[in-house]
Amino acid sequence: MAVVTPAEVQAVAFLARVQLADGQAQHVAAQVDQVLAYVRKLQAIPTQSIEPTSHVLPLANVTRPDQTVPSLAPEEAVRLAPDRRGHLVRVPKVVDLS
């Protein structure tokens, strides 16, 4: 049963900045369908008595005290940036505030 449409694949691909070649969306949609069909097996398991959870670990309230630790040196922080000026990362202009 096809659930995911090529249009949905295109939309998600765009959001994830993934470029798909012509016809690839159709192919990927079918693959995603197969993955979802596999996951759907979980629906056969009775879960009425199980609390919903957002996390698999039996842990809660893990915090750290509000203490500073040394940061990276600016030179180190921008070392991986593809483009820079001084210690600023240079990127294509994003908002035209005119």
Binding site: F14, T53, T63, D66, S71, A77, L88, R90, V94, V95
Partner: protein, 482 residues
Amino acid sequence: MTYEPVIGLEVHVQLATASKLFCGCPTTFGAPPNSQTCPVCLGLPGVLPVLNQRAFELGIRVAVALECRVAETMKFDRKQYFYPDLPKGYQISQYDRPLAHDGHLDVAVNGAMKPVRIHRAHLEEDAGKLLHDPNEPFSYVDFNRAGIPLLEIVTEPDLRLPEEAYAYLVELKAILRALGVSNCNMEEGSLRCDANISLRPAGASALGPKVEIKNLNSFKAVKDALGFEIERQQRAIEGRQTIVQETRLWNARAPATEPMRSKEEASDYRYFPEPDLVPFRIDAPAVEAARRALPELPAQHRQRLAETYGLSAYDAGVLAQSRALGALFEQAVAQYPKPKPVANWIMGDLLGYLNAHGQDPDTAAFQPAWLAHLLQALDGGAISGRTAKALFVESLERQRDPQELMQERDVRQIVDAGELERLVDAVVAEHQKSVADYQKGKANALMFLVGKCMERARGQANPQQLRTILERKLTISREAAL
């Protein structure tokens, strides 16, 4: 047809922590670019965020002050979008289990109380800062802000007027400052506001298309932008144009809202639970403890000042806007028990000075005793009102007790009646022409003579007193001449 504006506000407040929300990088404002980053806030692989305990506590403090329901369990989610200021490709925020929800805040607008419901308050990390150079096809990114702890406070669309939005922001800021959770400095980005507004025919219940306004750098900008947007949308509706649901930027120079042209499109954030952070439980005793630990909030503060000192609602409101001002007032009144003049000096001279010099009332160092000494000297007639004002500014600027300044420079006013009489006699003798002018009915001549007396007294006399003596003497001499 009349239209009703429907307004909601989203406020982002930076929580006053030493370190970021999920890592130990410092939060110091104004540090050199990219000097406060680490693998966690830069989103490098293999790192784990850990929640800042203090940010968590400050968030709860705000939630109870706004009478919110604090979540028994809250969790963090990833809000995913691509933008150069967002190093991870997602922002750690809270989606369906926020820290708190369903609160409220009553604000006074034009003498009436306006209840504003708080929809929710949640913790999230800030993004980096984008710097734009109008002459270049580039933007520059400083990630020092990335990961700074924010609390986003969202109202229900309960506001109807720009003035209500303004009053809400003023009251919210006063509360946040009273709680000590943020410095609320808008210039530094510690307090930011976006506004949502739509129009609907008066009496309708369905909401019109919503416009979000950003780039609001001050509370005044919020008020002005909303006023502009109400007119713009009204004209559009009346001209049968469709209102586009969009984000607009406030341009204070135009002044107008302008559509935001952004290369970022399609906001489908695909939230999912942040797997790197476990859930957080907040039990009832913790909420109760936070509630008990609340300081006096601005509304209680205002009420107490008004009732204890017999101040007007307006005066109490001004004094209670800052903890420091309120304390200065109460301590000064303890030493000089006339509330009204003390309030007037703080509201007029002190606030006037601070506003003119862009200083924050909370950090202004003016001692209650100084004000008390100044007012005592003024009462006793030792100094003129004018000298008192000058002394006030001087003691503020030099951080000195006006009493000391008075002794040091002998600015005491001449109060000895005999001395003043002699002074006036000398001036009258020297300026017979002006005396004659006055006696012929030229009222200006009297002011000239008062000025001459002040000159001779080197400013250390009360001009009103001089005027009275002059009038008396000139009338007598005129009657004698007749």
